[in-house]
């Protein structure tokens, strides 16, 4: 059951230039968080919408967020120090579903890494085989890659500038991987997600994509964050307003019906 949690910062670390890991004490949140869910971080200074951030860690009473500073709100969050208090609305959205998959490929690009640690841990715990295909602009921004290895994932990296791992897109590595996974989970910038969807189609492997869009409410109240979705999708909001266009696409709310959707059901 989501709620507003008043939390205190337990640790604040700069992982790379402009990349921060913010831990906070939040027992009640940890207990109810499912892999792939997100939170809305309430801005201490007000005057702006809360910031949607994936829940990176949720363990032994501590949750954390991992974020890139790209504007005023993330800049404000980056200034929080140990002991500072702030509030989050969480957990929100529907997470990933694993079904009976036994060999899972997780594709993460840039900040997308922030939403895939919890599913990786869960899958490893369930004894599944987990490979992380991790792409970033440059080596320095491949934050937390060792962490995923420690958690029991096989980590395959790619960088746009070739400074570490494959020189190019991580989706290229996925496409040419020796072993074909039976499930793909992906989170990252939308070009990467579209590429992942294409690869999944080629391989004939089902893929779940965690989408991003500018949010306002984060709880389904403003219809600001929609994505065109197959009207027959189990996640499609069951009403005609969404397909007035006559197409087979309906507008689903990423924050409410998502943020995770089946790649083959998206009509974007």
């Amino acid at each position: 059951m989501p709620a507003v949690h008043d939390v205190a910062v337990s640790d604040a670390t700069q992982l790379a230039p402009g990349v921060f890991l913010l831990g906070f004490h939040a027992p009640a949140l940890v207990d109810v968080t499912r892999p792939g869910q997100f939170l809305m971080a309430i801005p201490p200074g007000g005057e702006r919408c809360a910031t949607a951030l994936g829940i990176y860690e949720a363990q032994s009473q501590r949750a954390s967020v991992l974020f890139f500073v790209c504007g005023p709100r993330t800049r404000e969050l980056a200034q929080l120090r140990v002991g500072d208090r702030f509030a989050v609305s969480a957990p929100l959205g529907n997470g990933f579903t694993f079904g009976t998959a036994s060999d899972v490929a997780i594709v993460a690009g840039g900040v997308g890494i922030a939403s895939v640690l919890l599913p990786a841990q869960a899958l490893v715990r369930m004894g599944k085989r987990v490979r992380l295909f991790y792409g970033a602009r440059t080596a320095q921004l491949l934050v937390e890659k060792d962490r995923f290895a420690q958690e029991g994932c096989e980590v395959i990296c790619a960088t746009d500038d070739g400074s570490f791992g494959h020189h190019g897109f991580v989706t290229e590595v996925l496409a040419n991987a020796q072993r074909k996974p039976d499930l793909i989970l992906a989170c990252g910038p939308s070009p990467m997600l579209r590429a992942t969807a294409a690869v999944a189609r080629q391989l004939g492997v089902p893929a779940q994509l965690s989408l991003e869009e500018t949010f306002a409410c984060g709880v389904g109240g403003c219809w600001g964050c929609v994505v065109p979705l197959d009207r027959n999708s189990a996640q499609a909001p069951g009403f005609p307003g969404a397909d007035a266009g006559g197409s087979d696409a309906v507008h689903a709310r990423i924050c409410k019906e998502g943020p995770v959707f089946w790649a083959h059901e998206l009509r974007w």
Binding site: V219, G220, W223, P240, A244
Partner: protein
Amino acid sequence: MVMQRRPDLTIRIGKLDLPYPTLMASGCYGSGEEFEPFTDLAQIGGVVLKSVTRAPRLGNQTPRLVQTPAGLLNAIGLQNPGIDWYLEHDVKKFAKRPCKIIGSVAGFSVDDYAYVAERLAARDEIHALEVNISCPNVASEGETFACNPQLTARVVRAVRATTDKTLIVKLSPNVTDIASIAREAQDAGADALAVINTVRGMAIDVQTWKPRLGNVTGGLSGPAIRPIAVLAVYEVARAVTIPIVGQGGIETTTDALEFFLAGASAVCIGTANFTDPRIPVRIAQELREYLEQRGVASIREIVGKANVGFASPFQYEGDEG
């Protein structure tokens, strides 16, 4: 001076009795359900529902939202299931809410407004109607109803004829003289006025050289527009005698008080719910404390108390820099 009884926050808008003078803004609060996990709906006055139209609408292309300094640009495009599906599936759920429910009517012709208003008002789950006239009139090359006194009057008269329930007409700030539009709405039968809707604006992506909103233009809300909204309420309050629902950038109790003192009988909170869903209940509580500290018995006693008119006989003189 401390009081015996707690200050009274109840307020009456037309025939609508509100336990708290705080409404949640149309399009910002779903139907209330979405925010129930984060707040106590029994401690807000009511929810103004997302505007509904005659036909279903898919709404605009994304992005539909852009953050701006102390503001939010939105161009949702009135995505909604249309009145038929709405009445059949959604409205019955509203009975469960522990607060007042105010329907919001939008349209693209006078006829649209009357048709949707009549069917919506006929439902017991709907306690009052708000008319969102910030829409283009297809019959006059898309001129916005709210930007033309005659169009405003025609819509309000048409809607008024369909129901006795409280009618709140929502005015647009995107006009030269909002007071004249307000008078037309009052004369045409409005029970109250919502002041203001969003201010038109846009943002451009300097990387891609494209407008940042899928719809190109959008409506600006949030603290950035508060000074514009407070003045609009101040001017409208001098032009009409019906109650005003003040809105535009209310985020704190101080902000809400600015609107009451300018002449609003109730306030409406939209974008602030995206900042922190606890804000509306906090404001209601702090309003009571504020009145208590000053020994004021009712919120009604401070309405318009700072509305002293203008410094110059020429209302606009002196604010040109």
